[in-house]
Symmetry: none
Subunit: 236 residues, 2 copies
């Protein structure tokens, strides 16, 4: 599994710096944002695994951002840890109500922060990883680690399984071969771009008996996409 990516949202550079170093030491990848606005953009764009969110932010407050994230299906599952100053501690109920998974009071030890993060990630990623995805009858069961259609198993290799798992959790979105390599094979893996094509073919072949290969669409000049909406309509 790739390293977890944490987004640190705080308007004070000093805090971001401190937390950032601590997180990197603990083997997380760190993203930063200094405003709620930017944070939201990066969340939508880069899908971090967890958000460290300062309570007080200019313009969009942390709590407001948390509410927005919970309201949108696409981001509702994102775990959030609130950072609050001691004086604001009373508000923690509000924070938890807004959807925070945990909260940490400043000043905090980095050790404590890290362990909280790991705890939250353990909880949520276990939950997320166990959620079975289903699209029009095509079912991916992370627990059983297999694909089924009407309870009948679909046979495919491990790589095809991971590829499909990635696609099913990021539908309706085009990915370049390079992005797929990063996401499915893992970063820093040297594999030929065109190898993707072969695995795509294997995946399609595995899904073809049920016609689900139509979900795996080629985006010419760019890469591939998983979509339930019909792809190219070859004119007769």
């Amino acid at each position: 599994m790739a390293r977890h990516r944490i987004l640190v949202v705080d308007d004070e550079p000093a805090i971001r710096e401190m937390v950032g170093v601590a997180l990197e030491t603990a083997d997380f990848d760190v993203l930063e944002a200094d405003t709620g606005q930017l944070a939201h953009e990066r969340i939508v764009d880069e899908r971090p695994d967890l958000i460290l969110l300062d309570w007080m932010l200019p313009a969009i407050s942390g709590i407001e951002l948390a509410r927005r994230l919970k309201r949108d299906d696409a981001t509702a599952e994102l775990p959030i840890i609130m950072l609050t100053a001691r004086s604001e501690e009373d508000n923690r109920v509000q924070g938890l109500e807004a959807g925070a998974d945990d909260y940490v009071v400043k000043p905090f030890s980095t050790r404590e922060l890290i362990s909280r993060i790991k705890a939250v990630l353990r909880r949520t990623s276990a939950a997320a990883a166990e959620k079975t995805l289903e699209v029009e009858g095509l079912r991916l069961d992370p627990v059983g680690h297999r694909i089924t259609v009407e309870d009948e198993p679909v046979d495919m290799g491990p790589t095809e399984y991971r590829l499909l798992a990635f696609f099913m959790s990021h539908p309706e979105r085009a990915y370049s071969r390079e992005q797929l390599l990063d996401q499915v094979w893992g970063a820093n893996v040297y594999v030929e771009d065109r190898t993707i094509d072969v695995h795509i073919r294997r995946l399609r072949k595995a899904l073809a008996p049920w016609g689900y290969d139509r979900f795996i669409q080629t985006v010419r000049g760019t890469g591939y996409r998983f979509s339930t909406r019909s792809g190219r309509v070859t004119s007769a």
Copy 2:
């Protein structure tokens, strides 16, 4: 990508001059305006990529202009950086509320100004690149990298997609073939001017089943335009 065009709005020629030189050195194209009135005209007419806006202006104040721009859909997305004198610094909240993306306090170093501008442009252009555009039911989804009408995909080649993407993000404006080549094909590409005609035809053909080919209008003697308003009125 073409150079970014920055509109500098300030009533003091000295400031405009200084900022202008700095921006040009940093490889931006510079437009100027000395009143809110004129600024608004140039914005509507020339669509700069970012606005540097002085807080204090005669007649229409900077903050008032910012509000107006945010109120109008056509200009709401335009990033604004406010310039404020130190004594006005307290008002920065007002500025941010009025929709400014950032603010810089005078006196400022040109280095700081440039880096702020770049930061804002990075943010907004990244966000803009992901925003789905829709015009009367015709939808362009940059993330999924495709065009849809009522959730039904519209089939077209990569070049037609890029061409439409450019048109949809620059509507109601005529472009010469040369400009289109620069923008859509990229600079330093040698292609016959008339090739555009062919791609325009392909794009129209792709859109025709839904009648959206009416948006792609010929501007005789000049080039083409994307417009929702009906094109040429052929006299009966």
